[in-house]
């Protein structure tokens, strides 16, 4: 049913999106927790930073990543030398790009969820002997779970469609960084590639529908788990 190349792109997309969302999650929770506080110095800057990927075109984000994390760039070079982490031309780089571009979606959803939690519960936990970190993990985070799941799902969907940042940062390497959108793009840019593109679009749509269904089920289960 699927050609080898299509299957490859599909699996790669799933892998990259999953990794992107899961790795970004802790940071998104942290950023959201900070932003949910009433007010602090630098809040606007953080808010701006978090939203940047939404405002800047993905291509620019990809370009900025290239400048910051290329192997010749100070940061990228340091990562490569110290930890042997290499983002360039690898699927991990694609995941990083996807994670950054979809970061705002996660933060927004989690922040809303955190702000909706009754602060009285945290005070109650404090009288029961729980310190700030303890409270965050045992009370705040579980109660925010539905929001976290919703944010992760949006981010996952957006990751599946991410194109500009990935192609600019890590190029379009079949089997390594050629996700579904890149495969579709490649097909469209080729004269006579419409049919191939259409097949890939259909695959994307089916994937998205499956994801949505899954997310509805997941969200319902999480809600049942945390409430009532």
């Amino acid at each position: 049913m699927l050609t080898a190349a299509e299957l490859e792109a599909l699996l790669l997309s799933l892998k990259i999106s999953s990794v992107a969302v899961l790795c970004a999650l802790p940071f998104a929770v942290g950023a959201a927790a900070l932003l949910a506080r009433p007010s602090f110095r630098g809040k606007l800057v953080l808010d701006g930073l978090v939203h940047l990927p939404l405002v800047l075109p993905p291509v620019v984000m990809g370009y900025l990543l290239l400048i910051a994390l290329g192997t010749r760039a100070p940061l990228g070079g340091w990562l490569l030398e110290t930890f042997g982490i290499r983002f360039m031309f690898s699927w991990t780089g694609a995941a990083l790009a996807a994670a950054i571009v979809t970061f705002p979606f996660q933060v927004r959803a989690i922040r809303l969820a955190l702000e909706a939690i009754d602060p009285g519960l945290s005070a109650a936990a404090e009288t029961l002997g729980a310190g700030p970190v303890d409270r965050f993990f045992t009370i705040v985070l579980p109660l925010a779970l539905p929001g976290i799941v919703a944010g992760a799902i949006t981010a996952f969907a957006a990751s599946l469609g991410e194109f500009g940042a990935i192609i600019t940062f890590v190029s379009n390497v079949p089997g390594e960084t050629r996700t579904l959108p890149l495969a579709i793009y490649t097909a469209i840019q080729t004269p006579g590639g419409e049919a191939a593109a259409a097949r890939l679009v259909v695959i994307s749509i089916l994937l998205a529908l499956a994801g949505l269904m899954l997310s509805e089920i997941l969200a319902r289960r999480v809600r049942r788990l945390t409430h009532r």
Partner: protein, 370 residues
Amino acid sequence: MSLEVALRHDFGPFGLDIAFSVDRPGITALFGPSGSGKSTTISAIAGLLRPDAGRIVVNGRVLLDTERGIVLPPRRRRLGYVFQDARLFPHLSVRSNLLFGWKRAGRPASRAEIDHLVELLGIGALLGRRPGMLSGGERQRVALGRALLTAPEAVLLDEPLSALDHARKQEIMPYLERLRDEARMPMLYVSHAIDEVTRLADHMILLDGGRVAAAGSVSEVMARLDLFPLTGRFEAGAVLETVVGRHDPADALSELEFAGGSLVVPLVDAPPGARIRARVRARDVMLALHEPRDISANNILQVEVAGIRLDEGAFADVQLACGATRLVARVTRRSVERLGLRPGLRIVAIIKAVTVDRRSLSPMGEPPAG
């Protein structure tokens, strides 16, 4: 076993300035009208509010001393706090809620103690449920258990029953009584419902406008005529410390003995010798110059008028000495004149047995060791 509190805090139009101490286990009521500063006081003790100045010492441990710059965070105060709205964690089962503070306690209760408390509170069947599936009364019982399992050195209860309807209140009262009787630490119980206070507390601290208006045993404070405006006209009355005497199962009546006489009341569920606190509301006490005959009332007590306070409107409060015990009768001013009541006069007080119903009675537990 002691709790010393001195607090000063300024809320703009409202200022709190109080000092009191509790040096006994069992329930001490923090009673006063709405806005008198009860919640502010209890929040400051728990550490959820930082007062402008103050000193709080529990069993010699200084929790707060603004002068010396000591401010322990709530989690290090080792106090149990029961909120008006229970505040159970909705995502945790009843069991996990109960064990939340237990796991974090310095010297946690043993399994057996937990089981005992669960049984005491009657929440054994609820352990697997979520808080969302509990009734209001069940929630408060779980919240109570949760606070107690932190092995606290004192327990603070901020109107734990006021969000419940009458039926739920009645349902939870016995549990509070049992807890009080078993408690080995002071429990500070905030309420503005006098029937809760008289039923549950031995001692009370009466707050008014951010000041301590009176403090002492519930019977003393409740019998003070000058405090009637604060303790509540209609519900006010004397609180008698009694010992269960003879039961009469046939008539379903019991006799309660107190210093100065005895009282016949509907059958009490306590063995002879048990200590029982009985509230006799002033409005339920009738006075007569001579002992009436062929009257349905079961209690006719020989008393001496100790004081008379003419209240506004039609009312007068008559304080009565019945041996060492004080009673209060609320009658009309017209009756005071008609009967020629004056301090020193020896008269009789007539009390219907049915007015001292179960809601007015509560067990007192063991007499304090001191």
